[in-house]
Symmetry: C2
Subunit: 220 residues, 2 copies
């Protein structure tokens, strides 16, 4: 499943089925596994060829669905992946695909609605203890932009003030020398930030049960 923050809310790319089963309903892009492929590279090929998606900022495996009744044509196993695209990039997509808000899905084929919701949960959880936001944000961004991306992904308001402090204290984002000019309405120019690393890193490993005498200063 491909997720992107668009117009202030989290969207998933869906493909409208032209044939039964589930004709006319919306499905996640994907396809059968090639004989000598891994699941991840297979999905990469399907996304590139079918929906012309090549600029995926992060991809990870979600879960494998195995209900024998999930496909009326017979047993089909499906391994779902989470793929993220940075806000602002506008991939060319075929006419039978469209972006849909995850919190307001159209009728979906198979168990794809449930997969989309579980992918959203995975993203929401990882935003709070990893740097996975790098895959949703553009190369550089203002804190206000990043706050909107986080808010759209987790589904509730986020304080820009605290977001900046949390992510800088953890070393997830860093300021660049550049600044974004204010709009016509005025206002102070916003510092442009970037993610310190653009590969997935767990930044908040221990919610509790820290090892003894692993003081936060020693953790540096």
């Amino acid at each position: 499943m491909v997720l992107q923050v668009r117009q202030g809310s989290l969207h998933v790319l869906l493909w409208q089925r032209a044939e039964p089963p589930f004709e006319g309903q919306w499905a996640l892009p994907g396809g059968p596994l090639g004989e000598d492929e891994r699941l991840g590279t297979s999905l990469g090929h399907h996304l590139a060829t079918k929906v012309d998606l090549t600029d995926i900022a992060h991809m990870e495996q979600l879960e494998t669905r195995s209900d024998p009744a999930r496909d009326p044509r017979g047993r089909v196993l499906a391994t779902a992946y989470l793929a993220l695209i940075s806000a602002g990039t506008e991939p060319r997509i075929p006419p039978d695909t469209a972006w849909h808000p995850v919190q307001d899905l159209p009728p979906t084929a198979f168990d794809h609605g449930s997969i989309a919701r579980s992918g959203r949960e995975r993203l929401r959880a990882k935003l709070s203890y990893t740097n996975i936001g790098f895959a949703l944000a553009p190369e550089t961004f203002t804190i206000a932009q990043l706050r909107d991306i986080y808010a759209a992904s987790v589904g509730h308001l986020i304080s820009a003030t605290n977001l900046q402090r949390i992510l800088t204290r953890r070393g997830v984002i860093e300021a660049t020398p550049a600044a974004a000019p204010p709009t016509a309405a005025g206002g102070r120019p916003a510092t442009l930030y970037r993610f310190a690393t653009r590969t997935l890193i767990v930044t908040n490993p221990f919610a509790a049960f820290r090892p003894p005498s692993m003081s936060p200063t020693a953790a540096q």
Copy 2:
């Protein structure tokens, strides 16, 4: 993969292969998926019939491995599961299987060593933000016993004092009226505790980015 805390450390149940490939090396128990089964029930059947395991306290899916070279005989997809057994139960197991400490594995077949380590990581993480300890602990237990189980699973010392406070504050464990008698060396009798619920519950959902004005008191 079946995990249990035994003799103060986390063990995994392995089966010694009698035939090539990987003859003599140790593999995770499992087997092919039946035509009309789900992955989870299939694994349940394999564990029950092959290694006589029926008392699994918790099971969840880990990940699906798809490297075309992971099995020299040809392409085999494998979906790994994490299955936990309560400490103290002693399942009958066939003679060609044995418990091995996860931190000191024998030579393993396929990618099963890597799967075992990733399962341990999943368990370690979930211990800190869910009640998953219910699946490793017996029905009732003293805090000292629970501390040993947690320490074996996460791999470092745990303070019984703080463990008790954290888990009771979160409502994960609760005291029973009963107490365990002290040993011959004396000492105050230990209160017996139990897990409030014995199904998986996320108890620490927000490591950061809590919704606004969701005060911890209002969260009750």
